[in-house]
Symmetry: D2
Subunit: 345 residues, 4 copies
Amino acid sequence: MLRVGIVGFGYWGPILARNLRAHPRVRLAAVCDVDPARLAGVAAACPEASVSTNAADLVASPDLDALAIATPAASHFRLTLAALSQGKHVLVEKPLATCAADAERLVENAARRRLVLMTDHTFLFAPPVRRLAELVAEGSLGELQQYSAVRVALGRFRSDVDVLWDLAVHDVAVLDHLVGRMPASVSAAGVAHRGEQVDVAFLTLRFPDGLLASLHATWLAPVKIRRTLVGGSRRTALWDDLEPAERLRLFESGLAEGEAPADEDLQRRIGYRTGEVRAPRLEEREPLATMVAELVDAIEAGREPIAGPTSSLRVVRVVEAAERSARLGGVPVDPATGAPVVAHP
Amino acid sequence: MLRVGIVGFGYWGPILARNLRAHPRVRLAAVCDVDPARLAGVAAACPEASVSTNAADLVASPDLDALAIATPAASHFRLTLAALSQGKHVLVEKPLATCAADAERLVENAARRRLVLMTDHTFLFAPPVRRLAELVAEGSLGELQQYSAVRVALGRFRSDVDVLWDLAVHDVAVLDHLVGRMPASVSAAGVAHRGEQVDVAFLTLRFPDGLLASLHATWLAPVKIRRTLVGGSRRTALWDDLEPAERLRLFESGLAEGEAPADEDLQRRIGYRTGEVRAPRLEEREPLATMVAELVDAIEAGREPIAGPTSSLRVVRVVEAAERSARLGGVPVDPATGAPVVAHP
Amino acid sequence: MLRVGIVGFGYWGPILARNLRAHPRVRLAAVCDVDPARLAGVAAACPEASVSTNAADLVASPDLDALAIATPAASHFRLTLAALSQGKHVLVEKPLATCAADAERLVENAARRRLVLMTDHTFLFAPPVRRLAELVAEGSLGELQQYSAVRVALGRFRSDVDVLWDLAVHDVAVLDHLVGRMPASVSAAGVAHRGEQVDVAFLTLRFPDGLLASLHATWLAPVKIRRTLVGGSRRTALWDDLEPAERLRLFESGLAEGEAPADEDLQRRIGYRTGEVRAPRLEEREPLATMVAELVDAIEAGREPIAGPTSSLRVVRVVEAAERSARLGGVPVDPATGAPVVAHP
Amino acid sequence: MLRVGIVGFGYWGPILARNLRAHPRVRLAAVCDVDPARLAGVAAACPEASVSTNAADLVASPDLDALAIATPAASHFRLTLAALSQGKHVLVEKPLATCAADAERLVENAARRRLVLMTDHTFLFAPPVRRLAELVAEGSLGELQQYSAVRVALGRFRSDVDVLWDLAVHDVAVLDHLVGRMPASVSAAGVAHRGEQVDVAFLTLRFPDGLLASLHATWLAPVKIRRTLVGGSRRTALWDDLEPAERLRLFESGLAEGEAPADEDLQRRIGYRTGEVRAPRLEEREPLATMVAELVDAIEAGREPIAGPTSSLRVVRVVEAAERSARLGGVPVDPATGAPVVAHP
């Protein structure tokens, strides 16, 4: 049995608790929150778990193998570092850390101690994304050419992080999961219309092989849209979380591979033609159940999990580069170095 | 009667012809195309119009008051200049010209000769955009905060212009029409995946007052999406040309003006709440009929039309800036000067 | 505190339990199921509730004020009668009973003993239906003219009841809730394609004032549709549970009240015009929480609840009439008498 | 060349004219309308066609091989009979006639004279229906089990026919085209809410093999819906003319052929699961072009066309039976005999 403790029992902690407890080889052994009121229901709901208002108790406890950290973003680095130092595997809420330097230190630490470090990039475990990842991996979409993700809604304003670290990070993680590498440059625009934190952000990512990506994230739109277009040379996928019956659709490209459409001719024949559309069947497992299974398997096998250090670090680098670009008025930034990329005309 | 000639009778010319002839105070007096085959049907369809394979005939004709130019983009500048020089009002296919310098010369020329110069930015006359413009003008959306336009489909590849001048220009024109001013900077990413011309483009526009805009234009996506989100402090509008029954929808912002949402509190109350949604009734006039009426009225009144020189020039400047930014790897460009805007960190 | 016991702890019982316990003036005091395995989790989850495998224990218990009966439909009559006889208020899963004679006996019994009897017609408490009912009541739709409900999906096959008693009953209840009276005749068609029970059913209801209604219910369609059109002389409402952002929409009738459209004239002007569409904001309370509140309030006030005896009995009569009509090959049946209605040509 | 004359040049006539003229082996030789104003534009638009205000001229003309009759429904029988009597092939607007007796006489007449008689059931030639018909014919949907068609909108009120003969007839024709046989009984409900003609109608059709169908047709709904569900034992098709990108979708049944789902077990596994969805690519030919081609081919080959006498007669019988059922308060009517079908309980 893997003995897990949860640090932070606000909105996300109880959801994690439910999913951890549902795994046959996990025992939820401890729960911690600075606010004792939040711990009130724990005894009834999880009688097997001890409770504490001091994270240090769990970090130091010899009776825990792993910690799930669900505290505000600012404390992720400190708590994760402490947990790793005490030999514990860590699952941490996204983002892994709020700057690349911190994330690097965590990654090194986990590697040195051979501990599993995983970020809770929940969407990587959502059925449409799992299917998308398979399709991309098997070449079903062809060469990726364009990617556009819109994640807008009203509310869940945050005062501890901006919309880049809160929402855009989801799409950065999904894109990273699909392509497994960093963009050559990132540019961004962000504005704080309502409060102190940037609440509207647009990101553009340029990959060395020509793939372009655009992300739009905001808390300010009173219409909920969660739509990602993944365009490849063979097929284009549309992932729309608000189309319950067809969350993932695949559109056949009407063009033969390599066909170079000349103006007048092909244009007329093609028109705005639509080819066959397919909505593949998706598995129906809850994303967090899949994530917990991945965590447990990775710990048992001593391997790097999905959403593990390598990809989590890339995600932090990209978001950090976007933040810097936004501050620089949109100048592209290389996420590998953090430096502006200014071509000389 | 306004005597109008059409130069260029390929795809768009006949559509213009139909709409010009339907106006009670317009006489379609001449049609010209370099390809005599295209003129074959003119005699039967428009017996009142003379035909020619030489644009110079129409430009010089004393029997025409105005020319409608529907030729490939590269010839717009030359033909429009010639027509203005011969004292003719001009309606020209978008874009007005393919560089700002040319566009400026046309604008100056038209101003000096007091001639009407209008670009066929058809979407400005589409019922949803007309309604949107009213809503923005009357303050119904509040202060504009974010704008995101997606215009993707498969086909209508062009070899004479790239996707910026062909598709993104529509959305630049609509946005310009709504806000009536130029962005402080434009950045862009564009790639030519299929042929010689850029066929996937993402643009980001930053306005001095904090409005951010993002455009996505491509010929390469085998799914047709035409969706524009216009987010204001009071309401957000969604214009979706593929939702026939609700092409324009308005979403009430759930937030009171100026309300600064604190994290935990408001967040919980707001959740992802949805307010009232309204799809206003739209007029049902064909956009080109409205455009022709605007052209005729402007000529008769000697006033600047919608899609007239001032806005058309701004549109050309913005697209040109986007092109330059894309060539510079995404460095933002000031459309007023054409110069890169590099903040020093 | 209202002391409530739950009889039947399969799929629905635990959901009821959660909602009953969440009410501040309810104490969940006992849970019963014939299958002891289902009671295993009760002690941990609801430590305050006693458990039993014998419904008679709860029926007879002096420590309970009300019973919630969530057993298979066949036992509703027997258990409800027993509970009423022991002076207990009853909330029973839909349908109240599977024949009108039984339902009548329950209604009489409850009336005589002044006990609250309520059927768990959950959809009556769903936000879109509550809003619809307000709109109909305040005359906002005008006079109701047509009603069409489609409730199709794959699965949740039942062997104890057919699709009329399982699914169509929901829409019969909603329609009854909106109009508050019985149709003059009901005709139906039903077929058992897969198993023993009718799994595809179409119903037609004719009301004395000209309102026509059509219901389509099936377990057999591998596409999920839940759509109800409520057409009135002033407005038409569309309730679609699978449009998360716009579950209820209102379409303005383009016709003035009483306007009698002559053929050629108005037809051309009207075309297929679309008027303004509005999606009113809906409350966000869970239907079952509203239902529990209604139960408690009705018991405390000694009044008839929504989904009380009067309407529940009408619902049973209509479904029974539909069953009879289907068996008679579609001959209309008067739900008040159960007799075929055959006009003589 | 097939020499065709058009009788009736109101709304539909000019559309027919355009499509007839576009066929390489058709010559539009004459056009007739009682209203000379409608003929005004013919000379310019179709200089090769003679014009007349007297249908008798065309009926008697030795220079015509076929007539296309696009007059009000009441005159279809008389004009078609006259044309057939003069040895002319006939394409007639739907419905073929407004009673079965008349339709029979036309069918006999055409058969005796070996003339092609075709009803303009345009939807039979729409790409989604053509694809649907192929799918049904090749068994791709399995055995048909349920059919539900909704055709509602506001407007195009008719004073010459009711909504059964105007709108429901489309869906009766499509269903007949798919299954090629008549239902055992038809029941209907219809009300005239606005004018003299029935403007809301619901039909139920029962086929001998268990297929049930339901149609909803109205002019009175200020929301446009055109949706047909065709449910088979293997797949279910959804044809929605207002989903431009996916007008036809196919949903895989999650159930194995013959699998009899037991209550508790399968139900849980199935839940409301969704299988794969596929939107097949559709041809992009205009329905009327396909229809004209079918007419010409049938005349040239001397064969019965799609929408020929056999199916057109069945369609008239079914609509007539529905009308009778509605007048009888919903008693089912056998379309083969026109007699009520009353099972004795």
